[in-house]
Structure formats: C-alpha cells, structure tokens
Amino acid sequence: MTETVSDRFRGRRIVVGIYLAVVALAGVFGAAVGVLLPVESGRDIQEASIAGLEFAVTPLNFAVYGVVMVGVGLGVLLLAVRFVSRFDDDAVDGN
C-alpha cells in the first residue's frame, strides 16, 4: 500500500478546524489552572483581575478566560492570514 491519499481537504477547513480544537483545548487548560491556583498552598489565590475586572478563581471562570484569550488572540492571527492570503499568487483553493 502506498500512502497516496487521494482525499483532499480544503486548506481553510483544516485550518479553521485546528483553530477550533485549540480554542477548546485552551478552555480545558484554563479549567485545570482554575483548579490548581486556589489549592496551591503558600500563595492561596482566590481572586483575579484583568483590566480592573475582578472575578473569583474557579474552573469555569478560568475556562472562559482561556477560551476568550486564545480565541481572540489566534482569531486576530487568522483574520490576518485571511487578509494576506488574497495576495497569494500560488493559491490553489479556488476561491
């Protein structure tokens, strides 16, 4: 068997798929950090604040934080990719 996979996926579907997977993962990681911080002895962090916004350190809050941060951060990057790809002379995707 040779590995001449003939299924072809449109690149942007794959990229967007990876983006969604990463954002979801960021949620999981955020939740993990949310579990971790309050029980860490010596530091005992119960509250966090970003830009004046105070919130309790819970798994849910941190999951939201992870999703929003990574979602926006990588989202901006993705928009930039979309914009720059208009100037891509070698594009083969067809639209």
Partner: protein
C-alpha cells in the same frame, strides 16, 4: 579464580572477538544496503550516477564509506541508538516520579554501582539531557542534511567527503565517553555517572564527587564527569567540522542550475545552522576545557576568587541559546519543505521564510542572558536581553504565519508526513508562546527552575523538533529505502506521539505553576503545593511518557519491517507531479530507478506494487 586463569580467559575472549570481526568482514552475503528498488540480493549495490562506483561489501563498506548518502544513514542509525538511550533514561526517571518518595531508582542504584537513588536519578537526568541534545538532536539533523543537501543543490558529494567521514566517526567514541560513567560505575567505587546536569554549572560541576557531595579536601572527584566533558568536546569538534563542510559545500558545490535564488529552503536552514555552529560550538569547547582544567589542574577560571561562576554561565549560554536554534532551524526547514507538498502548492512567502531564518540566526546570539535573569546580573543588562528575547519571537511568528497561510490556500492531503507537519505547527506555537512568557523578567522570576521551563522547551524539542524529524523520516523513507512504510502503523505512531507529548508536557506546565521545582527525584519534602495534586500531575506526565514509548516502539518496528519487506515504490511515490510540486531529490530518485533497471535490476519487482 587466580590471575593466570583470568589471563587465559581474556585471551580466549580476544580470540573469540577476533573471530567475530573476521566473520562480519568476510560474510559474503551480509545484507548490503541497496538504496533503491533494484537487487538487494547481497551484491554490491549499483552505485551508478556518480562518484562511488565501487564499494566493498559487508561491514567494511560502512567503515570506509565517504559517500554522503551512506554517512547520512550512519548519522541516522547512530542518532536512533542515542534516542533509545535517552528515552530509556527518561522512562526510568518518570517511573521514579510516580510516587513522592524515592523507590525505583533506589532499587536500581545498587546494581548499577551508584551510591543512592537520588544520585542515580541525577545521573540519568544528566545523561538524558546531554544525549538528546548532542547525540540525538544534532546528529539526526546531520542525517538529513548529509543525505539531502548534495542532492538538493546538485552537487557530486560534500565539498570534503573524507572530513565528512571523520566528523561522523568522532561521534561513537564521544558517546562512549559521555556514557562512560554508567559503564564504569559498577566496577569502580569512585566513579559514577556524571550528575552535573546538561548545563554543568560550577561550582557544583567542579567539586562533585562520585557519592554526590561536595568535595572535601580528600574526596576524589568523579571521573565520570571528566570523561563526559571529554566526550562532549569530541562531539563539539565533530559538529564544527560538519558545519564547515556544509558551508563550503553550499557555497562552492552547487550545480550550474542552482543559483542562490534557486536554493531550496532546507539548504538555507542548514547553511544558517552551520554558521551558528561555527560561532557557538568553539565557545562551548573552550568553556569545557576550562572546566576540565579547574577540575584537574587547580586553575581558577570559574572559582569565586577567579573569574566566578557567572562567567561560566555567560560562556555556556552564549553557546546554549544558539544551540536551541541550531536544533530548531533545520526542522523548520523540513516543515517549510514538506508541508507545501501536501498542500499541493508552493510555500507562501518563500523569501520571507528565508529572511526570518537569517534573522533568527543573527538574533539568537543576542538573547543568552534570558537564562540568567535570576542570577543577580545588572538589571539594565537584563532589560535589554528581555527586549531582544521578545524580538526574536517575531521571525518565528513570521514562519508560523507563512505555514498557516500555505495551508489556508491549499488542498491538503493528510498523509503521515503532513500530520506531523501540522502537529509541529501546533506544538511549536505552544512552545514559542510559553517561551515568550519566560522571556518577561517578572514571569521568569516566578517560573525559573520549575517544571514550567521543562514543559516549555519540551514542547519545542519533542513537540516540534522531533515531529519535524518524523515528518522528514516518513517523507523520505521511500527515497532512501525504495520502499513504503506501513500506513496504519504510521498513523498510530502519530496519534500516540501527539497525545503523549501534550499530556506529558502540559502536565509539566501546570506543575510549574504549582511551584514544583525541576531536577528532583522526590517531592515528599516540598513546601509549595499540595503533594497529592502534584502527584496527580506527575502520574499524568508519566502516563504520557509511556504512551510516547509505545508509539516509538511501533515506529521502530515499522521502520525495520518496512525496510526489509515493504512494498517497492515507483518514481513518484507521493504523486507530487500531479500538483506540479515535484523536486530535485525525487528527480534523482527516478533517475536512479531507471539506471538500476537498465543495469539489470528486476523490473517486475520495481513496479509490482507501485
């Protein structure tokens, strides 16, 4: 047994070994490596094409070869053996860390001639780091560059084929010296595996004895460390010779059609990497010699009344940071080379990828002190190193951006090499972003010397560099062996490696947040976090490591089995021509297949399953 008995036994052993050597050398049908589909029946392969018409059969072929392709294969086999050594070391360490106390290494220590479990752990840690960086990382990249660069630039061979061979043959003695502590420890009480860690910081590395404590005036220094330093020096000389050879080759051996504008992206990264090696490895060599002198001849380069321990750190990291880019640039080249092939198009922004490679090469010499933020160096110096460290993230981001855009406007085939390319990009982003956080001084104060740092650089080294290596191995496997690997096993290998990597190293990042310091065999005495939580994460990391182990065993099996019995491939195993993305090395391959056929290969073999 009395002395004469032992002498007789030794003589018998010598005769026996001599017999083995004779046998290996004579064995007429020693399986001769045939780099392509034809033959393989034990005759000397049809080395048509150029340069190396006649090669002796059997083991002598490998001992005497100056052919860049053979040397590439030697580097590859060597690196895989080292990968196994480093892997086994870390598996023992991960097993130790399942529980807070000392157990696994304690049980092994006696048999291995080491005074305590902790000392064995430290020896394994040192060996793992040095082996993976110097005996696996650099050589596996040299495997690719030796095999491919002359093909890609249309050269007959390397500029200095014999120096190429010498550079390789310095590595095996280097490895033996680096690992020597383990071999000698069971027999000699005052020798143990070196416990200096890969950074070998004085004063500890200068004073440590085999039992682990600082030297009293009579305690004997551990010769395991001296041997390791000598071996390391040898590998450094080897890398430098190789680098000079690549620079000369790429500058002066390019074929008539390969102008600078036609130079492929992989060769660009090898050229830049070689320049980094040339400027940084001699410095490591000097620092190692000074360390050896301090240890054995009472010089005071790095003692407090001499140059001081900070001097060592400056010298070491002036080498050490470029070293991480020495390891990452060629993998980036592999990704830039392979990823577009399975997106069915050219790399987006080729020029910018080259420029960012050169920029990384230059900037990587200006960031070393970010490894020394917590040593109390001048705050103004610290701030400037922080700035450059943040700046170096930009060219890396440019590359990432270009890879993603290449995929965005492409039609993607999810072959195993492509999966590894995508995995590379994902893991490299995590590794890079965690690095940028460390480069900010206040964050580094919190996280320095915790597992966070270990998580950071393993995302890059395992998650990215090793992934690119696997992408390259799978992509060029048909080129080197003329055969195809087993696809199902390859996919299993990918998914196990992806899951194992992220499980292991993400658990480490979390552990770092919880304050778990790095480089300890036990954590029953730490005061930072609740032990059961830390233990949970250690267990997760260990589970991940075992998943990785299973994946790599599958990979090894797949490589060996497919090399021996895999189906033979035709001239374009990846269907690159369909998308118009074929390249020089596959043209060479096609050419070789054809010459092999007219030279009396077995045609029915060659296109049986193509």
């Amino acid at each position: 047994m009395d002395i004469s008995g032992q002498i007789v036994l030794t003589a018998l052993m010598a005769v026996f070994l001599f017999g083995v050597v004779l046998f290996l050398a004579r064995a007429a049908d020693w399986r001769t490596y045939t780099p392509l589909a034809g033959g393989g029946s034990g005759i000397v392969s049809q080395e048509g094409g150029y340069g190396h018409a006649e090669k002796p059969a059997g083991i002598f072929r490998w001992l005497t070869t100056v052919d860049h392709k053979d040397i590439g294969i030697l580097y590859g086999v060597y690196a895989i053996l080292a990968f196994a050594w480093g892997g086994i070391a870390v598996i023992i360490m991960r097993a130790e860390l399942i529980t807070p106390g000392i157990d696994v290494t304690q049980a092994l220590a006696g048999a291995m001639g080491v005074s305590s479990g902790q000392n064995l752990y430290n020896g394994l840690l040192t060996s793992h780091g040095i082996t993976m960086l110097f005996l696996f990382g650099t050589p596996i990249l040299a495997a690719f560059s030796n095999y491919l660069v002359p093909l890609l630039i249309d050269a007959d061979d390397m500029a200095f084929p014999r120096i190429n061979a010498i550079a390789f043959w310095m590595l095996p003695p280097g490895a033996v010296l680096i690992w020597a502590g383990f071999f000698i420890a069971p027999f000699v009480e005052s020798v143990a595996p070196s416990m200096a860690s890969w950074t070998m910081y004085p004063p500890q590395s200068v004073e440590q004895t085999a039992t682990g404590g600082a030297a009293s005036s009579i305690a004997q220094l551990n010769a395991g460390t001296d041997l390791m330093l000598l071996g390391l020096h040898l590998t450094g000389v080897s890398a430098t010779m190789g680098a000079i050879n690549f620079i000369a080759t790429i500058f002066s051996e390019r074929g008539p059609e390969v102008g600078w504008d036609k130079l492929d992206i992989f060769s660009w990264t090898i050229l830049t990497q070689s320049a980094l090696i040339l400027f940084s490895f001699p410095l490591l060599g000097s620092a190692l010699v000074m360390l050896l002198l301090d240890r054995n001849f009472a010089t005071t380069f790095f003692t407090t009344d001499g140059g001081g321990t900070i001097l060592y750190q400056h010298l070491f990291w002036f080498f050490g940071h470029p070293e991480v880019y020495i390891l990452v640039l060629p993998p980036m080249g592999i990704i830039s080379y392979v990823l577009p092939r399975f997106a069915g198009r050219k790399l987006f922004g080729f020029k910018f990828v080259v420029y960012s490679t050169l920029a990384i090469g230059v900037l990587s010499f200006g960031v070393w002190a970010h490894h020394m933020f917590s040593t109390g160096i001048d705050p103004r110096i610290r701030a400037s190193f922080m700035a450059v460290s943040l700046a170096i993230a930009i060219p890396s981001a440019v590359k990432t951006f270009n890879w993603i855009t290449t995929m965005w406007n492409g039609k993607i085939r999810l072959t195993t090499p492509m999966l590894y390319c995508i995995g590379f990009v994902a893991n490299f982003i995590i590794g890079g972003v965690t690095g940028v956080f460390l480069a900010s001084i206040p964050v580094d104060f919190l996280l320095h010397d915790t597992y966070y740092v270990v998580g950071h650089f393993h995302y890059v080294i395992m998650g990215a560099i090793a992934f690119a290596v696997f992408a390259g191995v799978y992509y060029w496997f048909p080129l080197v062996t003329g055969r195809m690997y087993q696809v199902t096993l390859a996919k299993a290998h990918f998914w196990l490696t992806m899951v194992g990597t992220n499980l292991t190293f993400f658990a480490m990042i979390l552990m770092g947040y919880a304050g778990m310091p790095r480089r300890y065999a036990t954590y029953n005495l730490i005061t930072v976090g609740p032990i059961d939580l830390i233990q949970t994460m250690h267990v997760l990391a260990t589970v991940g490591a075992f998943i990785l182990l299973v994946g790599q065993i599958i990979w090894l099996w797949n490589m060996v089995q497919s090399y021996l019995e895999g189906p033979r491939v035709g001239p374009d195993p990846w269907n690159l021509e369909e998308d118009g993305v074929d390249s020089r090395e596959w043209d060479w391959f096609e050419n070789r297949l054809e010459t092999a056929l007219t030279d009396g290969g077995e045609p029915e073999d060659a296109d049986a399953d193509a």
